[in-house]
């Protein structure tokens, strides 16, 4: 789709300095860049770079839980695959973690192989999300080139209306509709009505 994405980065939030040092070193050994944060607030306030990224988060944080952080991210509409670290992998906790959208759930102590597996799937998800966002942005930019009237025509064409019906609905002559329609096809690079339908359906799918 796009040119090869920038190198990934892993964020670690843990209030235990020793764990931060250790897990960040484990990540660096995997050849991945890493940034650490002692608190959830510090991470949330951080300006994150435009790179594929994932979050490795301790469930038990001073003053808050990893679940709170995930909720705050969702609230802020920040999409970042999250891996939880915990000292007790009980069923309610793992269910809660998975429901909150965690990619993986690592029970301490875990080794580099387990961490790599978790980070690999998290970053894969991050890349997929990134591609989706990029595709959506480019399609929306394309639709942004249409005039409001052209957008109306597009909506009606995609809904299966004939030129005559569209002319009637918009209160214009059929010839005007034909002109709008041709311009829509040209701007969107569409060869047929099927292409238009496919494009609008894709936008709907990407937004969901």
């Amino acid at each position: 789709m796009t040119a090869s994405p920038p190198p990934p980065i892993v964020f670690i939030v843990d209030d235990d300095a020793n764990m931060r040092d250790t897990v960040s070193r484990m990540v660096r050994q995997l050849g991945i860049d890493v940034e650490v944060f002692a608190t959830a607030d510090a991470f949330l306030a951080h300006q994150r770079p435009d790179r594929p990224q994932c979050l490795v988060l301790d469930v038990m944080l001073q003053g808050s839980t990893g679940f709170d952080v995930v909720a705050a991210l969702a609230e802020a509409k920040i999409e970042i695959p999250t891996i939880f670290m915990t000292g007790s992998g009980t069923i309610p906790m793992s269910v809660r973690a998975m429901k909150s959208g965690a990619v993986e759930f690592l029970t301490k102590p875990f080794d580099s192989a387990a961490l790599r597996g978790a980070i690999d799937s998290a970053l894969e998800l991050a890349r997929a999300q990134r591609e989706r966002r990029a595709e959506l942005e480019s399609l929306e930019a394309l639709l942004g080139t249409l005039t409001p009237r052209e957008l109306e025509v597009l909506t009606l064409v995609v809904a299966g209306r004939l030129n005559k019906q569209i002319a009637h609905e918009l209160g214009v002559v059929e010839q005007t509709v034909k002109v709008h329609r041709a311009r829509v096809m040209e701007k969107l690079g569409a060869a047929s009505v099927t292409d238009l339908v496919r494009l609008t359906e894709r936008v709907t799918a990407l937004k969901s």
């Binding site: 235990d16 020793n18 764990m19 040092d21 250790t22 070193r25 484990m26 000292g87 007790s88 992998g89 009980t90 069923i91 309610p92 793992s94 301490k108 102590p109 875990f110 080794d111 580099s112």
Partner: protein, 368 residues
């Protein structure tokens, strides 16, 4: 006073005859008891509900509600359930006495009263009641302590996990750093440290897994696996631990079973490492896998000293082996078999130990 308690014991006296009430009140009051006289059953029930006494002296023959009825109702209330009731009766026949006990009375006193007998019976039952209450309070207090202890235990195990991981990983980083530059002695020292850290990690995992299994909180990842394959892996890994013990497998084909492969592997590891540890030099350990009517059976035969009959149950309890291990130094706090039992039970299986023939023991488990 008749008891060591600071508060005088309270006695509710129920009798419709005022002379009896006065007699008992002055008699018991003179002994330091706090006497509360009432003249009928309804008032008696109200009095107990309001403030339960230490003892009730209850007349049987009363109009409206007789003593049996009052007692039976009292025993159905939360306030009155544990308050001892002594019946006061002019009747001396066995049937009446039996009826009194059946209604929930602890004793009876016949009229006319023998003063010393009344005082003796009252004192006995109050002492008994107080002892009972102290026991109940002590029991409740112990339950709280036990609960706290359990929570503390969880917390300690939980809090150990991060430092253990930090320790193990950093020793590993160190090993990578000094590879090729450190002396052989330094490398050996480091390897020993890494093994010890792994041992600690294993213990922490065992403790946590046991509490998770006990609370039914262990997530089981069930899949169809070949137990023979798992057993072979374990034998390959552990078989070389002690070169003086021969370890082999007795199985034909596969034994496919729906279970959590990782947990079952650890059960087999535990049983096998126990068998090897307890084997004499030149001994043979055999892991036999079979399909039985009950399901899939894994049995580990050893030629060790065997398990005494009286220990066969206890050995699977938490810390059940702790008291019996003296000279053998093992990286275990007596939790291995407790883990095995809970893990097998989590799979709805059974686990046990039998005497081996002609010697040794057979630790076995069966999974459905």
């Amino acid at each position: 006073m008749h008891t060591a308690d600071a508060q005088p014991a309270t006695i509710l006296v129920v009798d419709d005859t005022v002379e009896n009430l006065q007699l008992l009140a002055s008699l018991l009051g003179g002994q330091g008891y706090d006497v509360r006289p009432v003249t009928n059953g309804r008032l008696a029930l109200q009095a107990v509900e309001r403030d339960p006494p230490d003892l009730v002296l209850l007349d049987i023959n009363m109009p409206a509600m007789d003593g049996y009825d009052v007692c039976a109702r009292l025993k159905q209330t939360d306030a009155g359930r544990d308050v001892p009731v002594i019946f006061l009766t002019a009747m001396t026949d066995t049937a009446a006495k039996l009826k009194a006990f059946k209604a929930g009375g602890v004793d009876y006193i016949t009229k006319p009263f023998q003063i010393d007998e009344v005082l003796a019976r009252v004192a006995t039952h109050i002492a008994l009641r107080r002892a009972q209450r102290n026991l109940a309070e002590e029991h409740a207090r112990l339950l709280v302590v036990e609960d706290l202890r359990e929570k503390l235990f969880h917390m300690v195990v939980h809090d150990m996990r991060s430092p253990l991981m930090v320790l193990a990983m950093n020793l590993e980083f160190l090993r990578q750093e000094i590879d090729g530059i450190a002396s052989e002695q330094a490398k050996t020292d480091l390897r020993t440290s890494i093994r010890a850290a792994e041992g600690l990690g294993g213990m922490a995992n065992e403790l946590l897994d046991i509490s998770r299994l006990e609370e039914g909180q262990m997530p089981l990842k069930r899949a169809r696996v070949d137990l023979v394959g798992i057993a072979r892996d374990v034998v390959t890994r552990l078989g070389g631990l002690d070169r003086s013990v021969v370890v082999d497998i007795d199985a034909t084909g596969e034994v496919m079973c729906e279970c959590d492969a990782d947990i079952v592997r650890r059960v087999i590891e535990n049983l096998l490492s126990n068998a090897i540890t307890h084997s004499p030099t030149g001994g043979r350990v055999c892991v036999a896998l079979t399909e039985t009517a009950q399901g899939h059976r894994v049995a580990v035969h050893d030629e060790g000293p065997g398990v005494p009959d009286e220990a066969k149950q206890r050995i699977f309890e938490k810390f059940g082996t702790a008291e019996s291990r003296q000279e053998r130094t093992r990286q275990s706090v007596g939790l291995g078999l407790a883990f095995c039992k809970l893990a097998v039970q989590a799979h709805n299986g059974t686990i046990g130990v039998d005497a081996g023939t002609p010697r040794g023991s057979v630790f076995w488990f069966e999974l459905p």
